[in-house]
């Protein structure tokens, strides 16, 4: 079944996405070509490879890649595949090396990807053998506040242009300190059942599920300021990005940055533009999606856990790679300001692992829903009669946000406007008939 054979109902009355988009192996294979190939993909954080020779192995779609810092200190994202026969070169998760050596015929590459050595090369390949043509295949690489992105699409715009005005919002979190960002607890990598898009659309802006999927959290007093009097917006950007931002409803002129040390508030106000500071002050939660497969969640400490005396905000960055239509590999990182105190970082880490980590129960309830959506995908009548529906809050009451920010700002805390935005962009890339 090709996506063109799937009728997508996106009209004035309904926004339905057929279940096949979450179940069909042909759709998944097309996603890798049509979506992942033409996007800047998150690879990791610069702090994971601080020294020359440091590397981590990652995936871009199904492509195995190595993020490595060369002897010259530059970041490279290289296809993890020997240019002789394609053997996976680097089999470890992390390490440090000056060279990658293939275990099959011994071809050896520098940590900048240059082919350095070919056993008996001159003798067997001849004196005109041009090693310079056979370096490891390299992706374009760029960083944003410590987050490393890459793409193999030479035609795609630059990373700053790709992120566009979404940077205004990401910088509210990633730009609070002039010292930059850190991922002090490394990366977490695991697999789970479920289609990758379910997590993507959820984190792009599902404010609707909170009071139900996470009702246990509300009933047990673990939702902090999100359980109070709040107001929120959903924001959409070019290239398919979207985010949801919520704050405590307040008339206060004074800017508070919950979860950040009070002695840092003046610095935050200086680091951010006045409009960014206005947006970010009194924040209760901000989460979003950098299309297609990077998401983030930022919350002040919710309370309830004994996760330290320090009131630390936590910023979790996530990456989901589709291993198939129904299996996803997730990586996540705690990202903190680089120069904040260790006890602040530790408190943020405990908050992350106990609320949003792989073993935390907030997360488990989300992933349970994604699994149960997968469970019905096999049904013929279900596929015919029950598409995924995204009609919530198509008519939003006028609301003036508390800040003047870029992107298409919709004054709705609970809406499916971001999910519609995500799927519209996704379906357009997939070439679906809408």
């Amino acid at each position: 079944m090709s996506p063109r054979e799937l009728t997508v109902s996106v009209d004035d009355d309904r926004f339905d996405v057929p279940r096949a988009y979450f179940a069909d192996a042909d759709v998944w294979r097309r996603e890798l070509e049509a979506v992942f190939r033409h996007a800047w993909l998150l690879i990791g954080h610069e702090s994971e490879v601080p020294a020359p020779g440091d590397y981590v192995t990652r995936r871009m779609g199904l492509d195995e890649v190595v993020l490595v810092r060369s002897e010259a200190g530059e970041l490279h994202v290289l296809l993890n595949s020997c240019t002789h026969r394609g053997t996976l070169l680097c089999k470890a998760d992390v390490g440090n090396t000056s060279h990658f050596r293939c275990g099959y015929h011994g071809w050896t590459f520098g940590n900048d990807g240059t082919l350095r050595g070919v056993p008996r090369g001159r003798e067997l390949y001849g004196k005109d053998f041009d090693k310079s043509q056979l370096g490891l295949r390299a992706a374009r690489v760029d960083s944003f506040h410590g987050l490393v992105f890459a793409t193999f699409d030479q035609e795609l715009c630059s990373l700053p242009d790709y992120l566009g005005p979404m940077a205004f919002y990401l910088e509210c979190i990633l730009g609070v300190s002039p010292a930059g960002t850190d991922a002090p607890y490394g990366s977490f990598r695991f697999t789970h059942l479920g289609n990758w898009k379910l997590e993507a659309d959820n984190l792009a802006g599902d404010g609707y599920h909170l009071r139900h999927a996470h009702r246990a959290g509300f009933e047990m007093g673990l939702m902090g300021a999100q359980a109070g009097s709040v107001e929120g917006v959903c924001v959409q950007f070019e290239h398919g990005h979207a985010l949801r931002a919520q704050r405590t409803a307040t008339d206060a002129e004074e800017q508070a940055f919950p979860g950040y040390p009070e002695d840092r508030w003046p610095e935050i106000a200086t680091q951010l533009s006045p409009e960014q500071a206005r947006m970010f002050a009194h924040s209760t939660v901000m989460h979003g999606l950098v299309f297609p497969n990077m998401a983030f969640v930022h919350t002040p400490r919710a309370g309830g856990f004994d996760d330290g005396e320090v009131d630390a905000a936590m910023m979790q960055v996530r990456l989901f790679n589709p291993l198939g239509p129904d299996e996803t590999e997730e990586l996540n990182w705690l990202v903190t300001p680089r120069d904040y105190p260790e006890d602040w970082k530790l408190s943020a880490f405990k908050t992350m692992q106990r609320q949003h980590g792989a073993t935390a129960f907030f997360e488990s309830d989300d992933l349970e829903n994604f699994r149960r959506m997968l469970q019905v995908n096999g049904g013929r009548e279900t596929n015919r009669l029950v598409p995924a529906n995204f009609d919530l809050a198509r008519d939003v009451a006028p609301f003036t946000p508390w800040f003047d920010g870029p992107g298409n700002v919709v004054g709705a805390d609970v809406s499916e406007v971001n999910q519609r935005w995500f799927y519209r962009h996704y379906l357009e890339m997939m070439g679906a008939d809408a």
Binding site: K91, A92, D93, V94, G95, T97, P184, Y185, G186, S187, F188, R189, F190, T191, H192, L193, H212, A213, R215, A216, E219, M220, L222, G304, F305, D306, D307, E329, F349, K350, Q353, R354, G357, A358, T359, F361, S364, D365, L367, E368, N369, R371, R372, L374, Q375
Partner: protein, 163 residues
Amino acid sequence: MSNDDAVVAFIRHETHLLNSERYDEWLGLLTDDFEYRMPMPVLRDDPTQPRYSDVSLLAWESVRSLTLRFERILTDFAWADRPPAFHRRHLTAVRVAPTEDPQRVAVSSDEIVFRSRVPEGSTMTSALREDVVDLSGSAPRLARRTVLLDQDRPDLAQIALLY
């Protein structure tokens, strides 16, 4: 019964309580400063290097956070635990060793944990449990549990379990 035998009996008992989902009783066997940790498995090229991250903990639980975890199961909204999964911990080779603290012993056990539920299917996970048992009171209490999974890139169904 020797001291070591009493510690082994204690470990068998607390494992039985986890298998039986008698979580309140199990919480009663923990010291106030109990910590439960699961380091991230990380494969490095050199077989002599450690196979677990020394900074990345997949789970880091306290008595309070575990209490909340168990309380949640009893609410009507613990979606991931309703209906519950089958689960059983199989312990073997329980070893007791002294620590520098005369009131605490180190206990290591080899463990296989079976878990099964639709739609996740069944998982069988091998791990090493490294415990610290406190003997300062009238009965042994569990002070630390570190779980070392024998698996790179585990599945969520495996790491969400309490080992």
